[in-house]
């Protein structure tokens, strides 16, 4: 069975229907890769209704969210766990990630992040909820 997975903007083109797990894993991979190389690429994953709570501060809308993400400096990520659950409505997916990250040349730190992806069209998702926390020793 061949699956043609192309992750561009919010569109995930498939030959076969992707499970929530597969959508989540493709999303997480795309998300962190772009966060590291060019956070402004993440803009297409959010819209005006997206909410980010970053270290306790809440931001609404893609513009504000990307402004935050582009202000941090270079971050590299190392995901440890990815948990996926279908959400309340049939077209939403909950994802909880734990792992480590490094900001610039600082020591690695633990982090955990939650996403709720909501379908905006067939096989198209945007991030409706994003919650990010560093975990201090």
């Amino acid at each position: 069975q061949i699956k043609n997975i192309k992750v561009s903007n919010v569109e995930i083109a498939v030959k076969l229907k992707m499970s929530a797990e597969e959508v989540a894993k493709a999303f997480v991979s795309h998300y962190y890769e772009n966060f590291t190389t060019n956070p402004s690429n993440l803009a297409s994953l959010y819209n005006d209704s997206s909410m980010l709570t970053f270290e306790g501060s809440s931001l609404l809308g893609a513009q504000n969210i990307i402004a935050k993400y582009t202000s941090i400096g270079k971050i590299t990520f190392d995901q440890n766990t990815i948990d996926v659950q279908p959400s309340a409505s049939a077209n939403a997916i909950c994802i909880q990630v734990t792992g480590k990250l490094k900001i610039e040349a600082n020591n690695p730190m633990h982090y955990t992040q939650f996403f709720q992806l909501v379908a905006s069209g067939p096989s198209q998702y945007y991030v409706h909820n994003d919650i990010f926390r560093l975990v201090y020793a």
């Binding site: 659950q85 309340a88 734990t98 939650f114 709720q116 919650i131 926390r133």
Partner: protein, 125 residues
């Protein structure tokens, strides 16, 4: 939403730490729990998993609680609560944990909230 969420998680962890048998009542037949990577569905399965954990004494200590109101997504879309903290299990050193709850009202505006989605992970190392 913030106050409700704080009150709910406090009640949840108190129940977990003092009377795990009471947790099943916080879930519904379509609720889902991911516990350390294993998926359980429905209050019975979830209740069984949580009461079967081999922990005699347990204490959850919340470090951070973040709340997002999910209702802009549509009527009855609930409240998201994201918790990080420490869990003390028997005499072991505290272990960090991360937990996400999606809270829903069984009947809109009833004030009776339950856990629809629950994702729990311990953070080692």
């Amino acid at each position: 939403a913030e106050q409700l969420a704080q009150a709910f998680v406090q009640q949840y962890y108190n129940t977990f730490d003092q009377n795990r048998a009471g947790l099943a009542g916080l879930y519904q037949p379509h609720s889902k729990l991911s516990f350390e990577g294993q998926l359980f569905t429905g209050s019975q399965e979830i209740g069984n998993k949580l009461t079967s954990l081999k922990i005699n004494q347990c204490k959850h200590e919340m470090t951070t609680v973040d709340v997002q109101d999910n209702r802009p997504l549509g009527a009855g879309q609930g409240i998201l609560v994201f918790v990080t903290g420490n869990i003390y299990m028997d005499s072991a050193n505290p272990v960090k944990f991360a937990q996400t709850f999606l809270l829903h009202e069984a009947v809109p505006n009833s004030g009776q909230w339950y856990v629809l989605n629950d994702i729990f992970r311990l953070n080692y190392g």
